[in-house]
């Protein structure tokens, strides 16, 4: 599926004289309809404007791979192109260990920052706020805010271990392409123990299917963990409930929040 831009009109100054133009225009319109409702999507400075509150309805968070229902997960067909993550043998062992210990070892259980791409398909709302220079992603779960820089800056020269990685985006037509590096290895990809290492490199493609629907794709590579790059894809739906808003979810504070504030004797 191409995500490349479509020229919306002729470039010749006298196109109407040529019958071929009308045919080209017609084909162009079909192409537009086949790819996205690019005429109807919100825009900011000419680029798609993803501002809003979004959430997936997929079961990706529970297990990226195809799975039947179990006590801690609804069934799901999986969200990976080709079905399964191409783990290297040693990594597959680790994944199985993670799965066995998932109830306690999943960083989510402690209320930790979910990381990228998990924060996108976790089953909680996330708010996107957009400027020309950057796109800010606020997940309801946790307190960590992600910035996708779209101002032509590159990844930092030095190596970093970021829970959310370092995100640099650019526009390819109406698709936002984000390159994410500088990861830490303590985040998981889902509740089933799927994981990555510090060598993770994610390339995301964000595009509108219509004004209220985003197609999100992430290609993950990590030569220490996977035998080849692999791609997951989910759909994000816009929250349109009246006055819908994020409600802070700082649940990592739960072990101690009963001690505050002091109570009147």
């Amino acid at each position: 599926m191409s995500a490349h831009p479509i020229r919306s009109g002729p470039t010749s100054s006298k196109p109407a004289r040529h019958a071929g133009f009308y045919l080209a225009l017609l084909l162009s319109l079909f192409a537009v309809a086949g790819q996205a409702a690019s005429g109807n999507i919100p825009r900011l400075n000419g680029k798609p404007d993803f501002s809003g509150i979004w959430q997936t309805t997929s079961a990706a968070e529970f297990d990226l791979e195809p799975h039947i229902g179990r006590e801690d997960a609804p069934p799901g067909p999986g969200v990976i192109e080709g079905g399964y993550i191409p783990y290297l043998p040693k990594a597959l062992e680790q994944k199985r260990k993670n799965f066995a210990e998932r109830q306690s070892k999943d960083p989510r259980v402690k209320g930790y920052t979910l990381g990228v791409p998990r924060m996108i398909y976790a089953p909680y709302p996330l708010q996107i706020l957009q400027r020309a220079r950057d796109i800010t992603v606020i997940p309801q779960y946790g307190y960590s805010i992600r910035t996708i820089h779209t101002n032509g800056t590159r990844h930092p020269v030095e190596d970093n271990d970021f829970w959310l990685g370092d995100s640099r985006g650019h526009w390819e037509g109406d698709t936002l392409v984000v390159d994410v590096t500088d990861f830490y290895d303590e985040t998981w990809l889902d509740r089933a123990g799927n994981f990555h290492g510090t060598g993770l490199h994610v390339v995301e493609h964000w595009k509108f299917l219509d004004a209220n629907t985003i197609e999100y794709k992430a290609t993950l590579e990590d030569p220490d963990v996977y035998s080849r790059p692999w791609t997951l894809s989910v759909i994000l739906h816009r929250h349109r409930e009246k006055n819908f808003q994020l409600i802070e979810d700082y649940r990592y504070t739960l072990p101690y929040d009963q001690y505050y504030p002091p109570k009147k004797p």
């Binding site: 501002s51 307190y143 820089h149 829970w163 370092d166 504070t253 101690y256 504030p261 009147k264």
Partner: protein, 331 residues
Amino acid sequence: MSKHLRHRAIALAFLVLPAAAVLAQQMPPAPGTQERPQGSGISREISFPKIAEGKWTGPRLADGQPDISGHWSNTIANHNNFTDPQGGIINDPSPRAQRPGGPREERAPSRISDPADGQLPFQSWAAEKVREFQANFNNPIKPEYVEPLARCAPGGVPKSFYWHGYEIRQYPGHVLFMFNNGYRLILLGGRPHLPERLKLWNGDSRGYWEGNTLIVSARNLNGKALFGRSGEFFSENATVDERFTFANDGKRYNYVAVITDPTVFTRPFTVTIPARRYTEADTPNGWHYEASPANYDGKALLHERHERICHENNGGFGSPAVISIPGQKTN
């Protein structure tokens, strides 16, 4: 060293660097301000200018909001001591404690601007709780004597405005405060607050602009964040009405908030916190301006702010202690 540890090391370094070295990295005072001759860490101004509410003549965003986006930090002190901001941690036994000498007026004023005595109008039971916290803070034998920020809890209102520096981003209908630990998203316009029973660390904020002043009502606060290492607090019944008044040159703002809580106090009181902007003209530092040069082709220096993680890296800002809690990793 990885970045997340490095950030923490920077913060710690500021605690142990000689005071003169710290001051050398800080900016010259703005006109109308006075600096402390010595101090450590975040301490700086001992007085600050008032900013009158009125017209905004500075730049505006496309949606008409005054453009105040960027990096900001308070100019006085951190959360060691709420009513004597440069007075150091109360009862601090540490040999490197900042021990205030000289008369009170040589230090920055109380953050309480009303009542005039600078003291919080606590009911007697609440004043007793604060004394108990202060007496036990340096040897917290019970969990409630640990300042919540030492566990990386969100800073809450108003403490978030005098911890580390923070970034403000603006969007149509929104003003976003990005603190090192949590955020506040001010929704502009007349939408109702969340249902009253929902209580949150950073509350629920609604606001609007009037000239140079962002007027915010903070509700749904859970009262858990405390005001700092001196242990003052309000309850889950508090309301906070905030006015962020920006100077038209865009360099400073004053935060003035009226806090009302009949559960804990005998009357409403007013908190005032001065702040200044940080830009590429400033040297990044571990308290106020944790920025790094962006990697890009432009010639001009461009700063950006990297990820801030407190909780996950167990980098508690723990003076003096972070105690172990079952199910909770600590340092």
